[in-house]
Amino acid sequence: MKRRNFIQQTSAATAFIGIGGLSTFSFKPNYKKHITILHTNDVHSHIEPFGPDDSRNPNMGGVARRATLIEQIKNENPNTLLLDAGDIFQGTPYFNFYGGELEFKLMSKMQYDAATIGNHDFDNGIDGLLAQLPHAKFSFISSNYDFSNTVLDGHTHQHKVFTKDGVKIGVFGLGVELQGLVNDSLYKETKYLDPIEIAQDQSRILKEEKKCDLVICLSHLGYKYNSDKVSDLKLAKATENIDLIIGGHTHTFLEKPTVETNKAGKKVLVNQVGCYGLYLGRIDFYLDDKNNIEANGLKIEV
């Protein structure tokens, strides 16, 4: 008997038992595993909420509120991964005064698992970024910046595998081309490598060699461009093995994730939550035995 059918039948049976007996027997959804991905991007040093008189985002944002929300969600589902897609730095005097120390300390307190590096994270130079790294208790994942000739060499990961409730989640990171965007005196000898090639490579390693159940790309490439410039949407279509692209850079406010089809004909989710910590993105993955899925296929609710 399939487990799902069994649960349906047992719930019918238990309906005859008093409510008291049920309190220790709360039903989970009919899936074996539940992984929650929470994400932010382009927070740009926005520590405090916008005031009531703000011309664009009155009463929105604020790290202390975000912390409450994250805590609530983590209490509901401890199998949660918290990620940031870059441009943590620059945008309020907190950065000008403290150089990013407070941003990293707060993200550490909120137990961020990983972040990728945005162009503005170089604003105090690559040395300025390195100087703040001791305040970050989370990992920096960057796959297409080659830092080997810089002070950042050895301080970032090409990818990282997180295991939550036995589910292996592989994360790799992509950064935007720095030339023309950041002065080279700031990023120094950082080499920008082709994001699509790197993504193909990293996602293959994560899916096939590291046997990851989920592959996430933390991207600071930007959601979409009118030009030929590589974007998250292009990346989604041109690759395989990626389940979710968490984007940034273009400050795109998506009300819900975009569903794209990859090279192998599989669905990829692309999400981005604007900027300044006004929203928290939440993606819930429900995993189940392969033979249970085959009947219904992958369900996407956005």
């Binding site: 047992t10 040093s45 520590i47 405090e48 509120r65 907190y94 819930d284 429900y286």
Partner: protein, 252 residues
């Protein structure tokens, strides 16, 4: 209750059995965004942790410098905006005397980038904090001496950009299709062989936003004056901000 216990046992046994098969796959994905607004209570520990950082900042930032009679945002114009005009005029007014005293020359025009306007200015009190929001970056004002030919390249760049990049000292009139009909610096036609002193930010001069006409200038003067400090100094100097949209850079 016996029935319940029995079901319970069977249920857990089944879970254990099914765990043997470790080939799992995504069955369902749900995506949403959650607004972070004032309905969510602040985490007390985080708030407390921020407090000393905040107090130190506020002391410096919140004294009123000027008054803004109306809100300005960078999206309120086609090719020039009140806030962009304000920034470009501030550079002209604040950097001009410094440049003159150091070199004896005058700034002919200013070009900044629209992307560099990082916030609007709210109506009401203007403080150092407003200047930080408007210009959070540490960029400094530089004066590039470039040829009239390079100014033409600049105009071509602006034709392609179709964006309200802030200017001062130059008047540009484009047709509906963004082709330059006329351009004058300080009321005079641009001469190919003459050189012009163009104030901009070090970021743009070094090729930021692909403003390549600024690269390898005839001369470059660094005046060690941050764009933000120029804005703060200007706010201190004036009582009420008066800048509006005008005809400096238009289509007709």
């Amino acid at each position: 209750m016996k029935l319940f216990k029995l079901i319970n046992c069977v249920f857990f046994a089944l879970i254990i059995l099914s765990c043997k098969d470790d080939s799992i796959e995504t069955a369902k994905v749900k995506g949403q965004r959650i607004a972070i607004d004032n309905k969510i209570e602040s985490n007390a520990e985080i708030k407390e942790f921020i407090t000393p950082f905040k107090e130190h900042l506020n002391k410096t930032l919140d004294s009123t410098l000027a008054y803004n009679p109306r809100a300005m945002v960078k999206s309120d114009g086609d090719l020039n905006t009140a806030i962009g005009n304000l920034m470009a005029d501030v550079v002209m007014e604040q950097a001009g005397p410094v440049f003159k005293s150091r070199t004896g020359n005058e700034i002919d025009m200013v070009l900044l980038n629209h992307g560099g306007i990082r916030a609007g200015l709210n109506k009401g009190k203007i403080s150092t904090r407003s200047a930080y929001a408007l210009m959070p970056f540490e960029n400094e004002i530089v004066i590039a001496e470039i040829s009239g030919a390079k100014i033409k390249e600049m105009l071509t760049y602006l034709e392609r950009a179709k964006t309200a990049h802030p200017v001062s000292g130059i008047q540009i009139i484009m047709n509906k299709n963004y082709k330059v009909k006329s351009a004058e610096i300080k009321g005079k036609k641009i001469e190919k062989d003459k050189t012009y002193f163009v104030a901009t930010s070090d970021y743009l001069q070094q090729g930021g936003d692909n403003m390549l006409f600024f690269k390898n200038p005839v001369g470059l003067t660094k005046i060690n004056y941050k764009l933000r400090n120029a804005i703060i100094d200007y706010f201190k100097k004036v009582d009420t901000l008066k800048v509006t949209k005008d005809n400096r850079f238009i289509r007709q």
